[in-house]
């Protein structure tokens, strides 16, 4: 009786408002279609499975940047560091765990790769709590360079610039062996991507996810309303690192190789570009971006590599100057405009 809130029944307006809020996390037709098509690729493009696995992995890496940059607003040029850490950790687990049953299992390898990356992410997250975008850019870049140096210099462990050879993961969960056609690799990568996507989707639609967007929008106010801003940033940076680490682990397992190329600057930059192509802050931006990026690379790169690089650069310049928010930003802008026209009519 003392607590009014307990006996209080929400007004109809409040119930309607709640339905609006909850409606934001409902699955749309386009979303379902996206995943159905992605799964159907197994049958539609049987000769391109290894390329598709690669796209799924790059998409996961871009998704990890989306969590950190698109939602929490932490500008990063060093996500490749976590990709590389994940790749080497999983690769080493597969190499030295070969034979001793659980350690060479790819699924365990994912957790080892993701876990190591998350650990490094957690430690370095304290470096990106403060500072301007510019400082964050340089710090994340610096961390990636340091990881790159470590990989190159610890030849006895990582194989240095020759790459890590002899990564032979056993069958997934002891049942599905990796095959020459990349069938297992594709299904495995897609399942991992989908599961982590579901998790990311839950996170960004939750109060925690909303608080990240608020921090991105206005850190001063989030502190004033009593939000533990630093804790939230550490959490999402660590989660993002885990995602990137899992992506790296997938890459090492499906290609049975890890090289310093995984931690190089262009890895971080490419993944960032994919996200920006697709549109940051929509979850799907990185996935769309990786599809377009990798396809363009395949088509243009086959003509001449310089051609691809030139048009990549030109697209970026045009994107920044004319198309804010990437493809999804463009689409949602169009949708809003049409809706407003509909409302006005």
């Amino acid at each position: 009786m003392t607590d009014i809130a307990l006996s209080h029944r929400p007004s109809p307006e409040a119930q309607k408002a709640r339905a609006v809020l909850l409606g934001r996390s409902r699955w749309g037709v386009a979303e379902i279609a996206f995943w159905v098509i992605a799964a159907a690729c197994y049958f539609l493009l049987p000769t391109k499975l290894s390329l598709l696995s690669e796209i799924a992995i790059l998409g996961l890496l871009a998704l990890s940047i989306d969590l950190v940059l698109g939602y929490a607003g932490i500008v990063t040029l060093g996500q490749g560091a976590f990709f590389g850490v994940g790749a080497y950790a999983a690769g080493l687990a597969a190499k030295y765990g070969a034979g001793s049953a659980p350690w060479s299992d790819p699924v365990i390898g994912l957790f080892i790769g993701g876990g190591f990356a998350a650990l490094i992410g957690f430690i370095t997250s304290f470096l990106v709590l403060r500072g301007s975008d510019l400082t964050r850019l340089m710090v994340t870049l610096g961390v990636a360079l340091i990881v790159d140096e470590i990989v190159n210099q610890t030849k006895w462990l990582t194989g240095g610039s020759d790459g890590l050879q002899g990564v032979l993961p056993s069958a997934v969960l002891g049942i599905w062996d990796f095959d020459l056609y990349g069938k297992t690799a594709f299904i495995y990568s897609m399942v991992v991507l989908f599961v982590l996507f579901l998790l990311a989707r839950a996170i960004v639609k939750s109060p925690f996810g909303l608080s990240l967007q608020a921090i991105k929008g206005n850190p001063l106010r989030t502190r004033a309303i009593g939000m533990p801003v630093n804790g939230r940033l550490v959490a999402i940076y660590t989660i993002g690192s885990f995602y990137a680490g899992v992506a790296g682990a997938l890459a090492a397992q499906t290609t049975q190789f890890a090289s310093p190329d995984y931690v190089a600057f262009h890895r971080s930059a490419d993944a960032l570009l994919m996200l920006v192509f697709g549109g940051a802050g929509h979850l799907y931006g990185g996935l769309l971006g990786s599809i377009i990026f990798r396809t363009m690379q395949d088509v243009l790169g086959n003509i001449t590599p310089q051609y691809w690089q030139f048009w990549l650069g030109a697209t970026l310049v045009a994107l920044v100057l004319f198309v804010r928010g990437g493809i999804l930003g463009l689409l949602s802008g169009l949708r809003d405009r049409m809706k407003r026209k509909g409302d006005a009519a």
């Binding site: 929400p10 119930q15 609006v20 106010r221």
Partner: protein
């Protein structure tokens, strides 16, 4: 019998380099207060509020909130202890909706901000409270629009709504009507006048009309120091205060 003191500053000092922005301010705010903080431009009003709310750390002196020394506390901890504020320049989340902003604030107040699996809106009580606040401020019709594109006056109201959603003991309103066009001004004044009695209020304001309509006591800050304190009548009739304000106008003209 005097009311319980909710907020107090003792010998509060803030220096920026060689400038004394807050000069040994002793200040008390009792329960249920309607207190205005006035003073000419550059008197250090906003600095003082930033010290109280924890945005700035004082050079020396102490701050007590409901009897607890909070001098070394972060803004976040003070917010949880019952201190809320609005900002002179809107500090809102442009990409969220007003309802999302309030539900978020309520989640943080109830320590549910870490919840990461259930979607926003799954707590019916939070949504209900948020809608009730929007209704109280007369802006429930814009509950689902993007904050960034709202009219300026509506944003000012949302500023206050966010602070109220914190269920504060002490509320600092930093020029709530600043920059609001005349026709929307009345709505904000009504909201300020109708704020719940159990909240101790500090109003920082330039607009004397608003100050005298609303305040029961007034402090005048000049050059970072407390110049005088009293009832609105005392302050209004004080020749020294007139001189400070007239002097300022002369400079401005």
């Amino acid at each position: 019998m005097s009311a319980k003191i909710l907020l107090e500053s003792r010998q509060l000092v803030k220096r920026f380099g060689g400038i004394l922005a807050t000069d040994h301010v002793d200040f008390t705010l009792p329960e249920g207060a309607r207190h205005a903080l006035i003073g000419p431009n550059g008197a250090g009003k906003t600095t003082f509020v930033n010290l109280l709310s924890g945005v700035l750390t004082p050079t020396s002196g102490e701050i007590f909130l409901d009897g607890v020394n909070v001098t070394g506390w972060s803004a976040r901890r003070r917010a949880h202890a019952g201190m809320a504020r609005t900002f002179q320049i809107n500090q809102l989340f442009a990409d969220l909706t007003p309802l999302e902003t309030l539900v978020l604030t309520i989640s943080e107040r109830e320590n549910a901000g870490w919840s990461w699996f259930r979607p926003v809106g799954s707590r019916a009580d939070f949504v209900d409270e948020g809608m009730a606040l929007l209704r109280q401020l007369g802006i429930e019709d814009i509950a689902h629009g993007r904050v960034g594109v709202l009219a300026y006056g509506k944003q000012r109201l949302l500023e206050i709504a966010v602070a109220l959603a914190q269920k504060p003991k002490v509320l600092l309103l930093d020029e709530p009507a600043a920059g609001v066009p005349e026709h929307e001004r009345e709505q904000i004044l009504d909201v300020v006048a109708a704020l719940p009695d159990n909240v101790a209020l500090i109003l920082i304001e330039h607009d004397m009309h608003l100050v005298f309509r609303f305040a029961k006591s007034i402090s005048v800050l000049v050059n970072g120091g407390l110049f005088m304190e009293g009832t609105p009548e005392e302050v209004a009739s004080d020749p020294r205060v007139r001189k400070v304000y007239l002097g300022e106008e002369e400079v401005n003209v």
